[in-house]
């Protein structure tokens, strides 16, 4: 009750100061409002035109294609017709062992890659923030450098470092009498994790470091006064304070990881361990452009999309629940 009266006072005062609300004043106000809406429309139209053409229509098309199929009647004679097949394509995708295998591969990839990435980047950021690292700016620049290397080129560099005969790494191992096959059946997934880690570690470290810089210094000093050592300060004071960026990095890393395509696609040129349906994205590419089975590719796309949305939503919900419990 008090708040409403309180908020009304300045409005009344403002109204008294400006000319009395007449019909013409109201009209002018409406005209201004209309001008603002027009401006908003003009500024937003280009983006929303793109949103509709390269996002909404394609997503709609993917869903549509997944429920229809081009069937040739009879013995392949006569015109092709598009028929509604219901969930047939979904059944085909979800019972296809190569697709399920791809999902499993990506799930394993996420389980190894995401914790390594988040913990590694956060640990490096905390170390750099501890104030004992020499040449800090130079170290940051070095760690960030791979971000400027395009994904396909990062994969190329590492492919060569995994290739016997070219790789100085394998040579080094050989000198110690260790033979190592980076593209073998058990090593190929960790090798892909390594490429992704190498590419993105420094970038995410910078994101965490920027968030740590925003932590008020008094908070850290207070914890030191309370007798917390540097490790405890880092883990129990600083880390909870950058929770928002930890969640953000986790979600973006997850979304990118689920799309796994570039690295295995390139490595497949040299490793028989990677087939053309190694990950769901490669399965979609293979179904659409090698086998020309559009409804199968579309159904696989929708499954991948649903998994992505469900997992991102899960991460958001999980962390926000943890947040509210902490607040209690």
């Amino acid at each position: 009750m008090t708040t409403t009266t309180h908020s009304r006072v300045p409005t009344g005062a403002a109204r008294a100061a400006s000319p009395a609300p007449s019909a013409s004043g109201l009209r002018a106000h409406r005209a201004a409002k209309r001008r603002q809406l027009t401006a908003a429309g003009v500024l937003m139209t280009p983006f929303f035109a793109l949103l509709v053409t390269v996002f909404l229509i394609p997503v709609g098309t993917a869903v549509y294609l997944s429920f229809f199929s081009d069937d040739q009647p009879g013995l392949g004679f006569g015109p092709e017709r598009t028929v509604f097949v219901g969930l047939r394509s979904y059944a085909a995708v979800l019972t296809d062992p190569t697709f399920l295998g791809g999902l499993g591969t990506v799930a394993l990839y996420c389980l190894i890659y995401i914790p390594l990435m988040v913990v590694g980047a956060l640990a490096l950021a905390l170390l750099l923030d501890s104030g004992v690292v020499r040449l800090r700016a130079l170290a940051q620049l070095g760690l960030f450098l791979p971000h400027a290397v395009p994904g396909i080129i990062a994969a190329l560099i590492w492919l060569y470092l995994y290739t016997p005969g070219i790789s100085p790494v394998i040579e080094l191992f050989a000198k110690g009498d260790i033979t190592i096959d980076f593209l073998g059946v058990h090593t190929v997934l960790p090798s892909i994790v390594n490429i992704a880690l190498w590419s993105n570690l420094g970038y995410n470290m910078v994101v965490f470091y920027a968030a740590l810089q925003a932590v008020p210094r008094e908070v850290i000093e207070a914890s030191v006064v309370d007798g917390a050592g540097p490790v405890r300060t880092a883990l129990q004071v600083k880390t909870p304070l950058v929770r928002a960026s930890i969640v953000m990095v986790s979600i973006f890393t997850l979304i990118w990881a689920l799309q796994l395509f570039t690295e295995p696609m390139l490595l497949s040129q040299s490793s028989p361990m990677i087939n053309s349906r190694f990950s769901p994205s490669m399965y979609i590419y293979d179904a659409a452009f090698t086998r020309n089975n559009y409804s199968l590719a579309a159904a696989a796309s929708v499954v991948l999309l649903v998994c992505t949305i469900a997992l991102s939503y899960g991460v958001t919900r999980f962390t926000s629940r943890a947040d509210s419990e902490e607040a209690r």
Partner: protein, 287 residues
Amino acid sequence: MSAADSSLLRPKLLGRATVNVVVAVSVLYTLLPVLWLVLASTKNRDALFSSDLLSLSDFSLLQNLKDVFAMDGGLYGRWYVNSLLYAVVGAAVGALVSVACGYAFDKYRFRHKEKLFGLVLAAVMVPQTVLALPLYLMASEAGLVNTFWAVFIPVLFNPFGVYLGRIFARGYVPDEVLEAARVDGAGELTTYARVALRMLGPGLITVFLFQLTAIWNNFFLPMVMLSDQDLYPVSLGLYQWNSSASVSPEYYPVVIMGSLLAVLPLILAFVLLQRFWRSGLTAGAVK
């Protein structure tokens, strides 16, 4: 903070050494592969396979440089120009479009605003592989498959840029400035173009850099859309050459040289524009 306090903040000598070793090893991990690329680009094919990287006896950097631009009738130079067109023009147009939209989201009130913004954020989540087949079919309907536009138009779409644009508009353009411009009788769009856009400059450059990196990295879309080698960006071209290399090893040195050259523009962009993207990273992290 006095000197005594700050010494309390620091771990003991051993801890300090450990921290420095860990960071140094991490930096070596990120730097050495790039260093390998630089060294390997100076080697001819035989030296490359003898893995004797540090010997300078077979210094053939210039020869490799000549070869990469001569291979297959000068395709590499063409790819490079294509990549620059896709990335620089695409990122410039895309950043302008996204930031304008983000600005409108922050400064104007209209119905269903937050729902629309939610749609924009949802678009960030959707995997590119999901959109590729429908985009291909649409482009083929429109007769755009295997043209410049088939790659150029989709890469303009940058929903994360709208999110950043909204944050920057809130941070850099005070509402009072707009009110003052309105009192002066300036039109809304004139105010945006003459006043707000200038204040949004650093944000615009941040969005530009993010998108430049993304387009320069783009590999999946060109692979789906393009069959004419003359339209390839560098990423797809090098992928193609690398697949030839397993059959004809004379491609190895040019793939390595080509990779090194393809890294340079982004490094240059990050060095020149570094004071801008730092602010962008913080804006993206603090919600």
